[in-house]
């Protein structure tokens, strides 16, 4: 098959969603995902990621703007949009009393694709062939997740939505699944991934959009987002709230407007300054410091600077 999709795989223009009661979950966001691109949506709960995925999978009706999946408008052509896509939901979505094979068969029949050979092929690749004919109720969490990925892939979707696919899994299974998703990159499938784990986004995504309070506050490739913080960051921890320390650092001209504080941790991106000089200057101040270090910037830093939040708190 491997037919071409004309144009973008996902197009989102001025998308808005206001729920009953006036809660504005998505506030006029725009982005485009090219065919074969792996696109990450990052942000805490309440940022609007799930609402955005809900609109793209046609379970949430947008209040304004437009969205297209594989060229199909999700409001005017919902059936075509759904036919071109599959979803792996954040929560496990399986009929537990049915076998794994039956779960995948139901999907393949509803999408009017596949067959027994295709199910065998995917279950073998995902390491669940020896349990595929057993009730899902006996599967471990990781096995259920792999079954859901097999189910999503059996219809050969143009666009695959992965909504926090590794949340709640133990670290070993999580890393196995990241490998599975990484394997999808080479297939040319378009993937929209939401995650709380920034290492996942950094490893898997071609581009990342960071959402905060319904808006996209940054959208770029992971290297470009990291570059916005310079080549290094200085991180200091103080007793109590770090806001006072940050004010003092700014007052001394050590911290610029890129610096941010989370609890008792103050992070100073070295966009212009020299890290050893900054560390020396900090040591000379009368701050109640419990730790002081330099390190490479990460996507966590980008996220925290833009949202003033923590993933741990948001999870």
């Amino acid at each position: 098959m491997n037919d071409e999709i004309d144009g973008a795989a996902i197009e989102v223009q001025s998308l808005r969603k206001v729920y009953a009661g006036g809660v504005e979950a998505v506030r006029g966001i725009d982005f485009t995902v090219s065919r074969g691109e792996v696109f990450g949506l990052l942000g805490p709960n309440g940022a609007g990621k799930s609402t955005t995925i809900g609109i793209l999978t046609t379970t949430v009706r947008p209040t304004g703007g437009a969205a297209r999946v594989a060229g199909h408008d999700v409001v005017r052509e919902p059936l075509a949009a759904r036919a071109a896509s599959s979803v792996v939901f954040q929560d496990q979505v399986l009929d537990l009393t049915l076998t794994g094979r039956r779960n995948v068969e139901i999907h393949s029949r509803l999408w009017n694709v596949g067959g027994a050979a295709r199910i065998d092929e995917l279950s073998a690749t995902l390491g669940i062939s020896d349990i595929i004919d057993r009730p899902v109720a006996i599967y471990s969490g990781g096995q259920r997740r792999r079954l859901e990925i097999a189910r999503a892939l059996v219809s050969d979707p143009q666009v695959l939505f992965l909504d926090e696919p590794t949340v709640g899994l133990d670290p070993r299974i999580r890393h196995e699944l990241i490998d599975v998703i990484a394997g999808l990159r080479s297939t040319g499938m378009t993937i929209l991934l939401t995650t709380h784990y920034l290492d996942e986004a950094e490893r898997l995504c071609d581009r990342v959009a960071i959402m905060h309070e319904g808006e996209i506050v940054a959208l770029d490739t992971p290297p470009a987002l990291l570059a916005s913080l310079g080549h290094e960051v200085v991180e200091l921890r103080v007793r109590g709230d770090g806001s006072h320390a940050l004010s003092m650092l700014r007052g001394r001209g050590i911290a610029d407007d890129a610096a941010f504080v989370v609890g008792g941790t103050v992070t100073l991106p070295m966009r212009n300054g020299d890290a050893p000089e900054v560390v020396a200057a900090i040591r000379g101040m009368s701050l109640d410091i419990t730790a002081l270090a330099t390190r490479q910037p990460s996507l966590d830093d980008v996220y925290l600077r833009l949202t003033g939040n923590t993933f741990a708190g948001a999870a």
Binding site: M1, N2, D3, E4, I5, Y19, G54, T57, T58, T59, V60, R61, L79, A80, R82, A83, A84, V87, F89, D91, Q92, V93, L94, D95, T97, L98, R102, I106, H107, R109, L110, W111, N112, V113, E121, L122, A124, T125, L126, G127, I128, D130, I131, Q143, R146, R151, L153, S155, D156, P157, Q158, E176, V180, G183, L184, S186, T187, G188, M189, T190
Partner: protein, 287 residues
């Protein structure tokens, strides 16, 4: 436990035009899923049958012995045995509605909502299974009642009236149950609402006695209950015009015309029920 030590390249391909399944194929798949889930849950098959069977096999003969075998030329045991149809169908459809809540709470419904099929088919797929299961249960009920001593006058025409009434009433009642399931968030709330929908009307619908013996205002109320009309047609089909109670409803002299009118009422109820179910489900499915 399976471990995954090495990930082979995923055999994935993408395609530009995913053909959507024909409505019939989608309906068949959805019904097969619901059936597979239902037969794995004996509760849904057996529990709704228990009370009606108890009525047909124990209470109906006891009432006959206590009150007399015939009243106005009508065999009372058969009269009560058929009344249990009006208990079985609402209970059965309510239990089926419960499975919709289970689908939603377990998350399984989300996968179905993401499928490229019209959402009305999700309701109709459930309905097909409810009708099939109810048919089996009704057959069991009628046969057991006959074995216990109930007498039915079974003709092709009578059977057609019976089947028409129970089919349409089942459709209407399932529509109510599905609409309730779409509106009610928790199983406990749904179960607590079940008696009001499935049992209370039974006491006013001429189940154990003709509606003519009810106080005047309740007599009028009973005539508005779809169950009153369904039971009248059911009895007309299997016991004849005298036992049906159709005259108490319509006050006419032509039993066939009255049966057709009552069947029409049940048909309207079925259409309204399914329409309500599809609309409520579709509205609840999209936020």
């Amino acid at each position: 436990m399976t471990t995954m030590t090495a990930i082979r390249p995923l055999p994935v391909r993408t395609r530009s035009a995913a053909p959507r399944p024909a409505a019939f194929n989608a309906l068949r798949t959805l019904a097969a899923r619901r059936f597979a889930l239902s037969v794995r849950t004996p509760r849904e098959l057996v529990v709704p049958l228990l009370t009606p069977v108890l009525f047909a096999l124990v209470i109906a003969p006891a009432l006959r012995d206590a009150l007399g075998a015939t009243h106005g030329g009508v065999d009372y045991m058969s009269f009560v045995a058929l009344a249990t149809v009006g208990l079985l169908i609402p209970l059965n459809t309510q239990f089926a509605g419960l499975s919709v809540i289970v689908d939603r709470l377990s998350g399984a419904q989300r996968e179905l909502l993401a499928a490229p099929v019209r959402r009305a088919l999700l309701v109709l797929g459930n309905l097909v299974v409810v009708v099939a299961i109810t048919a089996v249960q009704l057959a069991v009920l009628v046969v057991l009642a006959a074995i216990r001593g109930a007498t039915f006058d079974i003709t092709a025409a009578g059977l057609a009236w019976f089947v028409g009434a129970v089919l349409l009433f089942t459709i209407g009642m399932y529509g109510i149950a599905e609409a309730m399931a779409s509106r009610i968030g928790r199983q406990e709330e749904f179960i607590s609402a079940t008696p009001a929908v499935a049992i209370v009307p039974w006491f006013f619908a001429g189940s154990l006695f003709p509606i003519s013996v009810l106080p005047g205002f309740l007599d009028v109320f009973a005539k508005f209950l779809p169950l009153t009309h369904a039971l009248a047609v059911v009895r007309y089909g299997l016991m004849g015009a005298r036992a049906s109670g159709l005259t108490n409803i319509w006050g006419m002299s032509n039993p066939t015309a009255m049966a057709a009118l009552s069947l029409g009422v049940v048909a309207v109820f079925a259409v309204l029920g399914v329409t309500l179910a599809v609309r409520t489900f579709s509205k609840a499915a999209v936020h």
